[in-house]
Structure formats: C-alpha cells, structure tokens
Amino acid sequence: MDPKLLRAQIERIDTLPTMPGILKKLLAVIENPKISLTEIGNFISNDPVLTTRVLKMVNSPIYGFPGRISSVQQALILLGLNVVRGLLLGVSVFEVMQKSMQGLWEHSLGCAVTSRILAKKKNIPEPEEISVSALLHDIGKVVLILRFKEDYERVVKEAEAKDILIMDAEKEVFGITHAESGAWVAKKWNFPLSLVEVIEYHHKPSLSKTVPIQSAIVHLSDILTRSVGFGFAGDNYVPQVSPAAWELLNLSDADLRETIDEMDHTLHEAGDFLIGDGSA
C-alpha cells in the first residue's frame, strides 16, 4: 500500500461511516488545538457516561492517586489537559472495542500500570504522562483494525501461518506497523510530541530524540506485561527487549523483582477494570 495514501486514510478515520458516534464526537473535541481546560471540562461533565469513566479511571489503582478525585475539573487541574485527553480517548476507544479487544485492553492497562511503577523508580517527573502514553501505545492497532478490517485479518493469519510477530506481519501487509499508524493519529489529534514519540518508538526506543527514557520505560513495560502473560497483544511469544533501552534504564535485579511484585498487586486490585464496564 502507498504510505501516503495509507496515512491520509488513517488520518481521516473519524469520517468512517462505521465509526461509533461517541468516538466521532469525542475526536472532534480532542482534535481541536484551541480547546481550553474549561471547554473540555464542560464537554466531559455534560456527559454522565464519560464523567463516570474518567473519574473511575483516575480513582482506580491504575493511577493510584492518594485521596479521591471527585470532579472532572479537579482531575484536569491535577493531571493536566493532555493526560485527561489521553485517558478519555483510551477508555472510550476500548469501551467501544471491548468485546473484540478485551485482551488488548488488558495489555494496555498492564503497560500503563507498569510504566507508572518504572517511572517512579526512575524518579521521572509526571509519571501519569508516561502512564497515559503506555495506555495508548497500541492505539495504532485499533486504528488499523477500524480502517482496514479485512487486511488486518490477513495480518493475523499471516502471523500465525509464518509464526512471526504481529508487528512483522503488519509490515508485510501494510508496509508500516501499528507504531506508525498510532503516531499518525496521535499527531492528528494534537497530542504532545512526547506522547507521539513514545507511540512511534515503543519498539525502538533508542530512536526517540526528545523522550528517550520515557520511550524506554514504555518499551520495557510492554515486554514485562507480555513476560508475565498478562493480557494479549496479538503475540504468543515475548519479543526481545531492546538492549539499549535495558541499559539506559539500568534496573537492578531487586528493582525488577519489586516492579513485578507491584504489577501483580496493582493489577489484582484493578480487577474491576479488567472486566470492562458493568461492575459497580
């Protein structure tokens, strides 16, 4: 497929007739570069379902804020516009996809949790931003499936038949991977460069110029989440960790042990989120 054409088609994903109404409405708001904190706050607050989702997420063990965040405005002030936009998008996209992508949702949550843990270990400021980029790191898979369903079925078949990674099968079918398609939409939706880079380089974090450590953290989180067998990102095997990313993060055995321990505890407590909606 011609990459330019592919990109144009992916960027116009919000015009797809099969696109669920709520996502269309949401994307229109998310895409507006001039949107203010107040406007987005009002948009979310006017929709009880969105409000519940955002508050449930920020108050869940996945984010682990001490004390309860009780309003959208409070979340916006504490977390910032980009984190709330990212959360809203992540939660809504997977809500729509819930049934067919429960495994990918779990994988994404697992990465979000793991990234926050690693970010804290490495004393990175704003661990929530890394966590939200981890939540969205595989958004390109969702986009490819939404836009090119039949082609993606070929990707899945090819990966199985040739016993290769989903990512490599994507390259064969589309000429690009979900990392590119994800970065394209993230740019289109006016997400900050840091988030775009993390999505684009989550397989090759050493290429990230502006946020190398953040990219390495999300990369390692992806590997660790697969290593413990949590969720399903499309592969039955754990891909190899980037040696450069591993060395950059320089975790001791004890760090790694503690990280895996904490992943287990947090994901256990986050039980409600793993099931999707419908729980009290």
């Binding site: 992508m101 495994g103 990918l104 499936i145 290593s227 790694l256």
Partner: protein, 124 residues
Amino acid sequence: MSKNFFGKPSFSCCSYDIIKHQRSDTVQRIPLSELKVGMVVARAITNESGMVLLSEGTALTESLIVRLGRMDLSHIFIRGASSSDKSKAELLSELDHRFKKTEKEPYMHIIKGVIKARIEEVYQ
C-alpha cells in the same frame, strides 16, 4: 466487530493466577451468570454511595442471586479455589513457551529468571 482480533482474555495464562495464590489463596471473580447457591462473598458488595449491601462472608441463596442479577454488576468476588487455577508446573511451562523464541537474546534471561523465581516463591 465480529472478528476477535485481540479478544483473548488474560485470565487463563497470566500472573493473575500467581497473585491469586499469594494474596488471597481462595478468592476469585465470578460472573453473575455463574453464581451458585452456597458460594461465599469474599468482598463486600456496595452501592454507588458506598453503602454495604452484602457483607463479606455472606453465603449466597437463591433469592440473593436473583437480587444480585437485578443490580448493575458484572461479577462479584467469591471465596473458594477455582478449578481453573493453574499448577506451578503449568505456569512454568507457559513461561517457557512464552520465552521460547527470545530467551537467548540479551537480558531476556534476567526477566525470565525473575518471573520464574516469583512463581516458585509463591508456590512454596
């Protein structure tokens, strides 16, 4: 979407089983449709304002199950070991399988080693 692309849930193959064994050996999450009389509630069920509707330790009766069915719940936590709980050998063999292709690559043995040690520790 008809086709399940990434639909495979994680519960069958993951460290979730490890946690279950370590932290609360006997708690599992059961969908409402699979509740049976006599099952014991492992975590209190509350309404939106936090009021306890069913306290921990309550044994389910026919009428409680019917009433739970009317609530906006997808699952509850129940005491008792699950038949799907995996043995240590199963978890270790799944771990081997997942790492089959990459364990010889740089640093992968460290990651695998830490997870393996954890599984062994939990089952002691």
